[in-house]
Amino acid sequence: MFENLTDRIGNALKNLRGQGKLSEENMAEALREVRTALLSADVHFRVAREFVERVQKEAAGQEVLKSVTPGQQIVKIIHDELVKLLGEGTQELSIKRPLKVMLIGLQGSGKTTTAGKMAALLKKKGYKPMLVACDPYRPAAVDQLETLAKAVGVAFYCERGSKDVPKTGRNALAKARETDCDAILFDTAGRLQIDSELVDEIKRLKAVVEPEEVLLVADAALGQEAVNVAKTFNEAVSLTGLVMTKLDGDARGGAALSMKAMTGVPIKFAGVGEKIEDFDTFHPDRMASRILGMGDVVSLVEKAQESLDQAEAERMAEKLARADFNFEDFLSQMRQVKKLGSLQGIVGMLPGMSGVKIGDAEEKKMARTEALILSMTLQERRNPQIISSSRRARIAKGAGLPMLDLNQLIKQYQQMKKVMQMMKGPKGLSRMKQMAKEVEAMKNQKR
């Protein structure tokens, strides 16, 4: 498993500290790490090479050599360069009305789903969208789009049985004019960029429809092939934007960089889930972190903001400050965290933790803790000190778990309470720091 780039570069440069000088050789080694990192993130070979050269130039100009932590500084330069490169160009859709959008791409890249999501987005923005089915080849593709149109609540147009896609396009436009639809989305068939017959078809459709936007929908996990795909389609129909899909997976997404770098076409949207609303404008900074394996803290924070209850969080903070914390709060905290998704998913978003695996064991432990707390009476949850041994026996039995588990939980609770007591008052923070130091010292002793 690929580790954090920061660590790797740090390793390449670690002998330098103290000497204060960075030789060209050392630098070269660090840059080789960068290149390997990019290649294993599926960045195209040539893009990776050019990018490393760019970084090298940038690094030379910035006197990285004098920096205390050259590794981190180089990573920052790389990150910034990546953001710059990924974010170039306008990410906005054309403001023309009616707005005509053509979605093209390989088979299975997610065009139809994207069409549905985009219609929902445009509807929210005040457009009256129409989805047009232009895929007469894949069985039931038309049905899929129709189902989505119904789910989103937008107009739908298709010509079943007709394989004349440009004609369908023309008729759809007429229909849209009639029904006052002002955002018309054409969902085309998946095709290989080298299938000249089908590429010709989208060219003809484009000539008829004259779309403001021609978007290439591409799977974020694409390999080295991404460049060929983007280049060929761009040459054929002049793309106005890219849509990266399946970003809710854990692909590092080097394809995005490759396609952007080789074509200059801006990345406009990102598909981030299976639901209709899982569609977002593209964030170059997050993508950069992802490509570099630096985690995605921003997304985690956003996710937390979305799913956590603000008022609840504030109430909790207050309680913590008063060291007044009981099992009710414990339960509510646990449930809040659960809302964020699987523990593995959360940990994966933390920097430097992308390689850490959380097994089912931890997830199960959480479920057990929940069961234990739920087996307590409200009174017991609020005043844990009343939990006597007979109560303990009842709770453990109720949860169907050994007494040992319950004892552990109660012990854990008591420790937490102790920590909170220590944090209370003006000197809390310094006491905490002292404690952290002691823990660290203990760890070092063990080594």
Binding site: G108, G110, A140, G254
Partner: protein, 311 residues
Amino acid sequence: MSFFEKFKQGLKRTTPTFYKAFGVVGGLFSGKKLAQEDIDLLEEALYGADIGVETATEILEEIKAAFKKEKELRGQDAAAIGAAVLRRVLAGAEGKLPEFTAKPEVIALIGVNGSGKTTTAAKLGRMFQDKGSTVLVGACDTFRAAANEQLAVWCQRLNLDLVSSHQGADSAAVAYDAYDAAARRGKDVLILDTAGRLHTKHNLLGELSKIRRVLEKRDAKAPQHRWLVLDGSIGSNSIEQARVFHKQFDLTGLVITKLDGTSRGGALVGIYREMRLPIYYVGLGEQPEDLQPFSIESYVDALFNLKNPAE
């Protein structure tokens, strides 16, 4: 058309970089030292096939070593070295189906969204039917809009029996019904098409386990074959996909689709290296007969353009 031809035709669209690096023209490495440009060219070709940093480095090292001994090394010689390394890495990767012992023998197709499961299910069905087996297909993708209809159209086209339900139904229930129907109708093979799911979706992976649990009630070993369907144009993430699905579902093999473009599906090399999962079939085109058994020889030869380098 011979099998090799088919393979080659599927993979035929030239990779210009491979051609440049390994083409027969000229003594590519005729200097005293292997020039940096030559190495770059080789690297570009190797990485361009998604075979992964590890294997690419291994091939490159061997070519460099050969060059040290033999200064007149030509492009085709380098290609032969590369092919030899790849053959070595892939040794044992050809999936060979054992004689079916159960009736029905169950094949479950799983994979991420858009990898080509539904199409593969139909094509596999047709293939077994052509071989004289009786086949039933179960449409366990109850999530994606119109997935049922897509499979229904395929089955009608290829004259295959199908058991399906409605969108939103319980996929495990469909699997059970399909098994039941296959058993009652005395079918030899049951192919289950499941919903696409990203390997990062914990709860959806749980659904897969449920399908398996439900089937085990009827036959403790079913599904005997748990194949991961991978899109050949996907890069290194395929390896991560395989890892997670393998852990969750104990995979028995792979099917690589969409190898008819210019992509080379090199991720299979990385997967085989790590997990030793055999590759059963590859998709070389849109027609039903374009699903072909995987052959190391053909794959390697087509990749390095060995049989007909002038092409």
